[in-house]
């Protein structure tokens, strides 16, 4: 199994805080949930209006998404299941190799 299935259920979520208060709250929860920041490279860069992409495991994503909805922070799920995305790409690769 690709990477021993370690990314099963991982999501990549885009967050765009509207205010500095939202940005502060996001920094706090990202730190607590130990997200993997895809962009920017450090949580200290998260600010009002900044585009923030985070990778988060399944358990954490439920908490994060609930928080985002409650706080009304704009967000979008970029990749719903990272493991599936990796495997899809791998199977496409195998198909191309066979061709």
């Amino acid at each position: 199994h690709l990477y021993s299935n370690r990314y099963t259920g991982d999501k990549v979520i885009r967050l765009i805080p509207n205010t500095e208060e939202e940005a502060y709250a996001l920094k706090k929860i990202c730190h607590q949930l130990k997200v993997d920041l895809w962009q920017p490279s450090s949580v200290s860069y998260v600010s009002e209006g900044s585009v923030t992409d985070v990778r988060i495991p399944q358990n954490g994503s439920r908490i994060l998404l609930a928080f985002l909805q409650e706080a009304n922070i704009p967000h979008k799920i970029l990749i719903d299941n990272l493991q599936k995305a990796l495997e899809r790409e791998r199977s496409l690769q195998a198909q191309r190799n066979r061709r």
Partner: protein
């Protein structure tokens, strides 16, 4: 052969190093491979020197890819660049001029340990793989480890953070090896280009502060023309500008260090995309990404050759 190697897939470290050895053996007129040192885990740090051999003095361009392990499109581009250089040297007047007038030092994988780890264990690993004394976390951000306002804004002092600057500047053997090489050859290295992902940006100094570089005029016009050339291929827009205001402030970057150490034209590319795939840029997008970026790099090179002091 050059044409049998597949440049539209991502390759393991071993495959890339075998490919480098192969080119060194089969294209000795234009390619010379050498090592500048060893990584933390003991892997060789290979460089390809491209260009027509000449007894006359020639300036050089340094290109590195894969400072951050998970940014796989970077090493893919470095390989693409080499392929294009060798395949089109005779047919493309621009490439011929580049190879005749300049040497290109290409480091396809800067962070060899991290890249290998991203293939075998953690696809989203970023840092090097050095051990941090007293901490369970490993690795240093190789783009925060250079001695230019080291460990200031935009870098972290905590070993478990992804932007950890390291225990001291150039603590990472990979960074030290490249820094030593650039110091030794800085008299004839004219430009430094570093390839990262993702954001679709072309950046120049400074990263560590909000200020205008002394040779802004030439650098800015090179960047402007490069992004326009890039966009002309598939319509993809890249933003450009000083890294501090275009991306964010970060200290200890290789681009800033190279500039501070006398290389007058330094750029960092953040390749495709802007987040739809992020680090998982599909292999079908390697070709368009590299094709447009190739045009940008040729543009920058020719601009610097013809228009800049």
């Amino acid at each position: 052969s050059l044409s049998e190697y597949n440049y539209e897939v991502y390759h393991t470290l071993e495959e890339i190093q075998n490919w480098m050895h192969h080119l060194n053996n089969t294209h000795s007129g234009l390619v010379h491979m050498f090592s500048i040192g060893k990584s933390y885990e003991g892997r060789p740090l290979f460089i390809l020197k491209l260009g027509r051999r000449s007894r006359a003095y020639k300036r050089a361009v340094w290109i590195d890819c894969g400072i951050h392990a998970r940014e796989w499109i970077g090493p893919a581009f470095c390989q693409w660049f080499v392929k294009e250089a060798l395949l089109t040297y005779r047919s493309d007047p621009t490439m011929r001029k580049m190879m005749n007038h300049l040497y290109f030092y290409i480091m396809p994988v800067f962070n060899v340990d991290g890249y290998h780890f991203s293939w075998t264990n953690d696809r989203f690993w970023r840092k090097t793989r050095s051990r941090n004394s007293g901490f369970r976390c490993r690795g240093v951000d190789a783009n925060r480890n250079w001695k230019v306002k080291w460990c200031n804004e935009g870098a972290s002092m905590h070993p478990c953070d992804d932007t950890y600057c390291g225990p001291y500047p150039e603590s990472e053997p990979e960074v030290k090896a490249v820094a030593n090489f650039l110091r030794k050859h800085k008299q004839h290295i004219r430009a430094y280009l570093s390839f990262h992902a993702y954001a679709q940006m072309l950046l120049y100094p400074y990263s560590y502060k909000y200020a205008t570089i002394p040779n802004f005029s030439c650098v800015e016009s090179a960047a402007y023309k490069a992004v326009n050339a890039l966009r002309s291929v598939y319509g993809v827009r890249y933003r450009y500008g000083p890294a501090s205001s275009t991306l964010y402030v970060s200290s200890g970057s290789s681009m800033d260090w190279a500039y501070k150490n006398g290389i007058p034209y330094t750029f960092a590319f953040e390749l495709r995309d802007t987040g739809h795939f992020g680090f998982l840029l599909p292999e079908v997008l390697i070709k368009p990404t590299c094709t447009e970026t190739m045009l940008a790099v040729k543009n920058i090179t020719m601009h610097l050759l013809k228009k800049c002091p």
